[in-house]
Symmetry: C2
Subunit: 433 residues, 2 copies
Amino acid sequence: MKKVKIALLGLGNVGRGVWMILNSNKEEIMKRSGYEVEVAKILVRDISKPRGVEVPLGLLTTDFNDIINDDEIKIIVEVMGGIEPAREYMIAAMDKKKHIVTANKMLLATGGDELFEKADKEGVMFNYEASVAGGIPIINGINESLTANKVERLYGIVNGTTNYILTKMAFDGLDFNDALKEAQEMGYAEADPTSDIEGFDSQYKLAILSSLAFGTKIKIEDVYREGITKIESVDIQYAKEFKKVIKLLAIVKDNDGRLELRVHPTMIPENHPLANVYDSFNAVLIKGNAVGDLMFYGRGAGDLPTGSAVVSDVVSILRSNIEIENLNPVVKNNLWVKEISDISEIDSKYYMRLTVADRPGVLGEISSVVGENNVSLRSVIQKGLDVENENKVTIVLVTHMTKEGNIKSAIEELYKLDAVYKINNFIRMEDFN
Amino acid sequence: MKKVKIALLGLGNVGRGVWMILNSNKEEIMKRSGYEVEVAKILVRDISKPRGVEVPLGLLTTDFNDIINDDEIKIIVEVMGGIEPAREYMIAAMDKKKHIVTANKMLLATGGDELFEKADKEGVMFNYEASVAGGIPIINGINESLTANKVERLYGIVNGTTNYILTKMAFDGLDFNDALKEAQEMGYAEADPTSDIEGFDSQYKLAILSSLAFGTKIKIEDVYREGITKIESVDIQYAKEFKKVIKLLAIVKDNDGRLELRVHPTMIPENHPLANVYDSFNAVLIKGNAVGDLMFYGRGAGDLPTGSAVVSDVVSILRSNIEIENLNPVVKNNLWVKEISDISEIDSKYYMRLTVADRPGVLGEISSVVGENNVSLRSVIQKGLDVENENKVTIVLVTHMTKEGNIKSAIEELYKLDAVYKINNFIRMEDFN
Ligand SMILES: NC(=O)c1ccc[n+]([C@@H]2O[C@H](COP(=O)([O-])OP(=O)(O)OC[C@H]3O[C@@H](n4cnc5c(N)ncnc54)[C@H](OP(=O)(O)O)[C@@H]3O)[C@@H](O)[C@H]2O)c1
Ligand SMILES: NC(=O)c1ccc[n+]([C@@H]2O[C@H](COP(=O)([O-])OP(=O)(O)OC[C@H]3O[C@@H](n4cnc5c(N)ncnc54)[C@H](OP(=O)(O)O)[C@@H]3O)[C@@H](O)[C@H]2O)c1
């Protein structure tokens, strides 16, 4: 049996998962890759930290030079996260013709191009399956299995934390803060949950997926972003009345060469496959012009699921025959140039919740302001008195398809009405047609 | 741009889809594969047959020699189906160092080994993504993305015809025959539907998937098979009362090295992801020891979805650099030896529907016979009088987990009771724990 040495940068959640899998599934990996994989070094910040896995102390190092200067180490597994020094280390490793596996969505979404180009130049493989949706092989799916398709649309639930929170709000009637607290207690949300709940994490992932699916360069700023902090239990209740559920969706649509890219809470039909993705599970639905609807569902985070994706990336490098240089070119993601739509240009249906004065004629006033802005209403429902103020009532509007620009100007105009106290929320709706 | 010539064997449903995709997505395929793909020849039986697509007449041939003797043709796409001459043609093509893409599940399930070995020997690629679950990249998923896992279980809805029939029975209240007729009118079922409704098609597919997932040789006879013809509307109604739905599942479980392989109608919880796979959609759920639950969902048949899988297989050959010989070894499927369990050894819960005499004490008699056979009952429900005979009543039993052998002997003993007129049905239940 041939042997290969690899190094891990990082032994946190994912690093631990990788270590455990390499040990417990050693035989599977050997038979499938043709190699016995030996972890020769592991880079950490603090050697004395308890690790929760039994790793021979001699493997740990805080000095990257121990790794970069070891010519026997052929593959670098970057699971440390962050921009620097992860970027610098990967560039240095590729200089030494080491192949790379990374799980670093933040770095890929913000500086992926430099890394892809470097890998291409050095003829090394650069794999990143774990960077989006953890254990779900969505990168491989797009890069290898959808090659015969024009991708038309992609919808993803790619953040487990927010999906867990929204599930708890919907099923256990928790409000946002309590659901977040529970997610933190369960280890699904970080102490600082901003990246998840404000949609940054989903934004990174959508940028990566869209770059691949459309073979084009997507910058983070191209992706419109809203988090879930504005979702209240009452919105979820009203959604239920319309047979909808609210999910944080990452959406990209190709409208004749112009891409709209957006991450925001979305009301979707309750019988749609994505509506049935609960808790911390992730799923990505892709519509290809040949394959139709294709969905991938599974665990988007966690030590073992993410480790599974990382180790499969290692196996794929081993199988592609690492002894030959310049073998497998990196999948190119600059094949097409696409225009990016502004969020005001998208077409959608909208749900809107308002607090208005409880007097005759208000519904009429609202309807006509909305109509003047070219928004046609599908339904207007008065939801009863405000609990705190008996002169106020809640109104829920649902629109037909319209440009987001129209909704924004309608909202501006609505605020000018004396009878409108507050526009509590507006949520985009998607029916996947 | 480099050019490559390929040939199609067959221009039926799938062949047509391949032709359409190669034309409509020409630019995508070129950019992603690095090749302009030219279909140089198409083998058919009858040149004069109307084809529904515009194919230059000069491309059609009824003589395989036109293809096999053309050294410029590098890839053979076998979409003719059947055992012979498909097998013979593929072997001959590999002799000439041509790479193969096939969609032929029947041939793979019954004689795949010979073909894999031949491909390995000749150093040609042999791809067959379309053979299972049409457009869903489940073969690639298992072969490339689950390499870090021990697969523990796999559950598939891999036959669109039967899923369509069961969906119609459940939602539109049709009985089996009417649902089948509708499936035929919609083009989802063949004039002779035996292979689908009796579970042969699913049996082939499970044999292929299991061979790959467990790296072992699975023979068709290793897979226990039951079709859906015995399912009556009333069973679907009773299932609903237990919050279950009935699906034709292809199941494989690895019990410490012994595989149980079976295709049969199965009652599953209505909120499970597989329960929400409707109409002719397919889905495959895999439980890996690292990745956990992973599900692939999409179109399991049809010209374009199946063509999508076929063409992605062509692209993957082109990308692996066809100019170099003996490049990518075929994924081996004889890595492990597994024992196969007999169906009598499986553990399951069971639903049973009986017609019994309407007199006091019958429930007690039944319960004790069942108990004597080591089957413990979870519920016994009397469902009211038989419509045709007022002396008969319907009883529905649901058991706890037990060996199938126990159920079979219980059924034998039950038939010996005077009070038991008929055991109308028994259906395995699965709760995915
Ligand atoms: N967690 C998931 O489920 C998941 C899923 C998909 C992708 N990812 C991605 O995977 C990566 C790792 O995530 P994680 O959750 O495993 O992170 P983590 O638990 O914070 O672990 C990070 C590891 O990297 C080490 N490290 C960080 N900076 C270092 C430095 N400058 N020098 C040396 N060592 C350093 C840390 O060392 P010490 O232990 O000594 O502090 C720690 O072992 C991130 O890019 C993340 O986005 C994570
Ligand atoms: N249909 C699906 O959705 C689907 C999905 C997955 C996999 N598959 C598999 O794909 C394969 C093709 O299925 P299909 O539905 O496309 O079949 P089909 O519609 O019956 O087409 C078969 C084609 O092969 C040609 N052919 C058959 N035997 C031949 C022979 N001896 N010599 C020359 N040409 C011959 C036929 O020629 P003529 O046209 O002249 O008769 C026809 O064009 C099968 O293995 C099937 O299991 C099908």
